[in-house]
């Protein structure tokens, strides 16, 4: 059974998150998006943990489901096309570790995944003595990541510890600003216990495959969503039944049960390429190296991006693919595709109306983006959408990498003319 799993997201108890990040909100959007297993996030927060115990009940080993009465209520408001899909929850939390090691301040975000309320309780009683868990769904601890890993291992070997979005400059294991240069540097003798890393929105498996230390460990993707609409924007695909221990062992063994990941185009990130926004200079890693990191316009240090950081630590060239590699699927979120077809902003009502119409007719977003034959999409009355989905599935998109704080652009059409040439029946959407 194919499962789409999103382990990293937040509740409404985290900073700068949507109020609708409740279990009900996650359940509903899980069905709209087509995510099968959703991380709860924030299990260290006492109020959220209390909500989890209130509203969830054990389902298959290590997984939870929304209590049937609550679920039934939400299902009432959903169309037949998306209602049937089962949703499971998995207990997860992200922790912000801020500490000094080897003479530098290190800031790492780490993901912790646990199989039971009892294990979460044990983790919380440890961490409660170290920091303030009720200030933020993602608590800041002045604790060495390695010590956090130790605590997890000590409590239960089935607790999974994963360095999060490892390439972001400021808060990640390989971050250029406050990270490390290797897993070994960060975790010393416990490096072997790091069985997986999270790509984050700023990198894709291809970038990670260039790193020697990452050749044999699992590369997974999650959304890090701060609103329910964003869950599953990146995710990991498994071929296994609903079972915590199967999911965990697939990750630990990095075996055939882990099929691959669903990815954003990493070029969309704000710091993919290097450059200077003010000088209008945008450079690839190779160009930056040739220039010795100096801006050709203002002659100051360039802001180097994630891609450069990868090339700094890489042992293998661009495009290198390890033998034991997984599938990589790139997506553009369905509302964004619709917005571009319509030539309007993604936040408009017209886009959300069409989005609802599309999934009510065809099924959840992942089914539309990944599985439903384009012919069927077209026949259902969305011919332009079917063509657009086909482009995305074949990665035929226009890519403009982000740099120095400027978001990159991933588009179906190079310009307005291309959009207009694409089809004249936009009104049907």
């Amino acid at each position: 059974m194919q499962l789409i799993v999103d382990l990293h997201l937040h509740s409404h108890f985290s900073r700068a998150t949507s109020k609708s990040l409740t279990l009900e909100g996650l359940y509903k959007w899980g069905k709209i998006k087509g995510v099968n297993v959703i991380g709860t996030g924030d299990f260290t927060h006492p109020s959220w943990f209390s909500e989890l115990r209130d509203k969830l009940e054990p389902a298959e080993p290590g997984l939870f489901r929304l209590k049937p009465t609550i679920a039934a209520d939400i299902d009432k408001s959903l169309s037949e096309s998306i209602k049937k899909q089962e949703i499971r929850f998995i207990l997860t939390s992200e922790i912000s570790n801020i500490y000094s090691k080897l003479g530098k301040v290190r800031k790492l975000h780490n993901l912790v995944i646990a199989p039971s309320f009892e294990d979460v309780s044990k983790i919380n009683s440890y961490l409660e003595r170290i920091g303030n868990l009720s200030a933020d769904g993602r608590p800041i601890l002045g604790l060495d990541s390695k010590e956090l890993l130790k605590i997890c291992l000590k409590i239960n070997e089935n607790i999974l510890f994963i360095p999060a979005h490892i390439w972001t400059p400021w808060f990640a294991m390989f971050g250029s600003k406050s990270g490390f240069d290797s897993i070994k540097e960060a975790f010393d003798e416990l490096s072997g216990e790091i069985v997986a890393v999270e790509t984050g929105l700023s990198s894709d498996p291809w970038m990670n495959w260039r790193i020697k230390e990452l050749q044999n460990i699992a590369i997974i993707s999650n959304s890090d969503a701060h609103s329910p609409q964003k869950i599953g924007r990146e995710a990991t695909i498994f071929d296994c039944p609903f079972d915590y221990f199967q999911i965990i062992s697939a990750i630990k063994n990095n075996d055939e049960r882990l099929l691959g990941t669903i990815e954003f185009f990493p070029e969309e990130g704000k710091y993919h390429f290097d450059g200077h926004r003010i000088c209008n200079v945008k450079l690839s890693a190779d160009e930056t190296k040739k220039l010795d990191r100096i801006c050709p316009v203002c002659h100051h240090q360039l802001t180097v991006g994630v891609n450069f950081r990868v090339s700094e630590l890489a042992s293998f060239p661009v495009g290198f693919k390890p033998e034991n590699h997984k599938k990589v699927e790139y997506i553009i979120p369905l509302p964004e595709i619709i917005a571009e077809l319509k030539g309007v902003s993604v936040s408009t009502k017209s886009v959300s109306d069409t989005f609802i119409k599309v999934y009510n007719t065809l099924g959840n977003e992942f089914a539309i983006l990944r599985n439903i034959p384009t012919k069927l999409i077209s026949e259902a009355g969305f011919p332009e959408l079917s063509l657009a989905v086909d482009l995305v599935r074949r990665n035929k998109v226009e890519i403009e990498p982000g740099y120095d704080g400027v978001y990159g652009k991933i588009r179906l059409f190079k310009d307005e003319r291309a959009r207009k040439n694409f089809g004249g029946q936009m009104s049907l959407l």
Binding site: S47, V105, N132, G142, L143
Partner: protein, 615 residues
């Protein structure tokens, strides 16, 4: 990393002194190292029998630390290391005196009783201080009043002594019992006293009893750091000792290893007669920051920590190639009241912090009450029942407690409850406990029991909710079966032994200046550098206030910030009069940017208003 410093010649001289010696050790001059060095010198070089060495400290913690530094196990070691109190108790018990010490909780209870009974307009804390002061300076009997007598009679009723009694009993005993005095004098040829400036008169008198002409006295401390005068410490004790024993040698340690140059230079101005020399080559930083009010002050402090650490989230992120930890910061203030807004701002920021002396989750009133009830349910004996009744949460009329205790003859809960359950206010509690006992016997698990306790005693409300949720979140691990309570109670006693907090945890420290004594931090902020805070002018001793500021400033290793506000608690404030003493080279004055902004905004507003008048 252990840095082994080369001893200074002053330290060397103190350690190897032949006779008796007073060592005046300023902040950061290696006081503890010198004390430990001295003990090693006595043991290893002079081959003194460890049984002859007595080391007296002022806190259990300090005694423990010395034992740890000496790497000796308390029971096996022949060196006597302890506080004046523990030493007194040990000797008195050895002499066959039967002394029952009142627990601090019981003492508090008695004091609260008296305050209620006598309708006193005083706090329990100041009452306790009065008692203590009276007992420590019993020469001044004008302080004696009927309340203190009442307190004493209540202690005596149960044949109990308090800590202050201990010292006066010991003192009297020494004066009367020549044999004991001689025994102690001949046994302890070497007496070492740490933090000598904290000695009070009674302690000093005791000391005089246990030394004779052959004793070697080694006292170490800093008269400039005597900040416990209000508790009876005798700031003059150094000169008193010198007057009483003129042959005693005087040594001053003057090299400050702790603080950067500017910090030493600026703090020296408080005591120009005993300046220290900085050993550090870095200048460091001393800043005086003016800000608008207590809110902007706290924001400024949070901002300082955030930027030093290099940002806590993406919006604040900056590069930082220095080694900085949360625990490198200490925020010091005159009293805990001052920290209220800061605590709020720190919570909002998510910065991990701890207040020294703050109660942990398990010590909070409501949670500790729940724990008491659980202990009682698990083991239904009178002692556990008393714990419930004595708990602050119930805030029970003390008379009920007495009735229950008077009934102590029958130790069985079942007998007792039928006899006095008619007492008003008490019936309810007994009934509630009865129901809980029933649930417990029916096998209701831990979590459910806690919820029932909360329900029955109406513990959950808006302000306690988060604590209770946190507590419940920790209980989950013990399951819900018949053994769950047992397991939980084990866990609590383990925590109890481990101080509830992880001491080594990396958090910003918030502390009163008093509690920060002896500690050091890379970055220190002293809040509220204002008249009426530092110094407290009314009723305070300006000299002691100056010493307090000195203690605060000398905690800093690299950077020291003194903040003051224009307005606090909606009242205009004045910068501390001590500014005139410390001002000068090495101190940078700065106006908080937010204050500048507000002033500009206000001027703009005034201007607009005045222009509007033309219309």
């Amino acid at each position: 990393m252990n840095v082994i410093f080369q001893r200074t010649s002053e330290q060397e001289k103190a350690i190897k002194s032949q006779g008796s010696v007073i060592v005046k050790a300023g902040p950061g001059t290696g006081k503890t190292m010198t004390l430990i060095g001295r003990i090693y010198f006595l043991l290893n070089d002079l081959k003194i029998n460890p049984e002859e060495i007595l080391v007296l400290t002022f806190t259990q913690k300090a005694a423990q630390e010395i034992k740890e530094r000496l790497n000796i196990e308390s029971e096996k070691s022949a060196i006597t290391v302890g506080t004046f109190h523990s030493f007194a108790l040990e000797v008195l018990l050895d002499e066959g005196l039967k002394i029952k010490l009142a627990s601090e909780a019981l003492r508090q209870k008695i004091i609260k009783e008296i305050i209620l009974e006598e309708r006193l307009k005083t706090t329990a804390r100041s009452f306790a201080e009065n008692v203590s002061n009276f007992k420590n300076f019993n020469s001044n009997s004008s302080n004696l009043n009927k309340d203190i007598l009442l307190y004493q009679s209540k202690l005596e009723r149960d044949d109990l002594k308090d800590f202050d009694d201990l010292l006066s009993i010991f003192h009297t005993k020494l004066k009367e019992d020549l044999k004991l005095k001689n025994k102690l004098q001949s046994r302890f040829g070497h007496i070492l006293i740490d933090e000598f400036q904290d000695t009070n008169i009674l302690q000093y008198e005791i000391l005089k009893q246990v030394i004779n002409s052959r004793s070697h006295l080694f006292v170490i401390g800093d008269p400039n750091q005597s900040i416990y005068e209000f508790r009876g410490a005798d700031a003059q004790v150094f000169s008193r000792l010198k007057d009483d024993y003129s042959e005693i040698e005087d040594i001053r340690l003057t090299k400050n290893f702790r603080s950067c140059q500017d910090i030493v230079q600026v703090s020296n101005r408080l005591f120009p007669k005993s300046p220290l020399n900085p050993n550090q080559t870095d200048r460091g930083k001393v800043m005086l920051i003016e800000t608008l009010n207590e809110y902007t002050e706290s924001e400024w402090i949070v901002n300082l920590i955030t930027t030093s650490i290099g940002g806590l989230d993406l919006n604040q992120a900056v590069s930082n190639d220095k080694e900085v930890n949360f625990s490198d910061f200490a925020i010091l203030y005159r009293n805990h009241n001052l920290s209220k807004i800061l605590v709020q701002k720190l919570k909002e920021s998510g910065i991990p912090f701890q207040r020294i002396g703050e109660s942990s989750l398990y010590e909070k009133k409501e949670v500790s009450f729940i724990i008491c009830v659980l202990k009682f349910l698990n083991h239904q004996v009178m002692d556990n029942f008393y714990l419930i009744l004595e708990n602050d949460f119930l805030n029970l009329d003390y008379k009920i407690l007495h009735k229950v205790k008077d009934f102590n003859g029958k130790k069985i809960w079942l007998d007792m409850k039928s006899n006095i359950s008619s007492e008003k206010g008490f019936t309810e509690i007994v009934l509630k406990l009865e129901e809980l006992i029933k649930s417990f016997k029916d096998g209701v698990g831990l979590q459910q029991l806690v919820l029932s306790i909360c329900d029955k005693f109406q513990i959950k409300n808006e302000s306690t909710n988060l604590d209770i949720e946190q507590f419940l979140s920790i209980l989950i691990q013990f399951g819900n079966d018949n053994y769950s309570i047992d397991k939980f109670i084990h866990f609590i006693s383990w925590l109890n032994e481990n101080n509830f907090y992880d001491k080594k945890s990396n958090k910003v420290v918030l502390s009163t200046i008093h509690s920060a004594k002896g500690l050091e931090f890379k970055y220190v902020v002293v809040m509220g550098f204002e008249d009426n805070l530092i110094p407290i002018i009314k009723g305070g001793s300006i000299k002691e206030e100056k010493r307090l500021l000195y203690v605060a400033m000398t905690r800093a290793k690299n950077e020291l910030y003194l903040t003051y506000t224009r307005i606090r608690n909606k009242r205009k404030t004045k910068i501390s009069q001590f500014k005139n003493i410390i001002k000068g080279e090495g101190i940078v004055e700065m106006v908080d940017k937010s204050l500048e902004r507000r002033i500009k905004a206000k001027e703009k507003w005034k201007l607009r208003n005045s222009q509007l008048k033309f219309f």
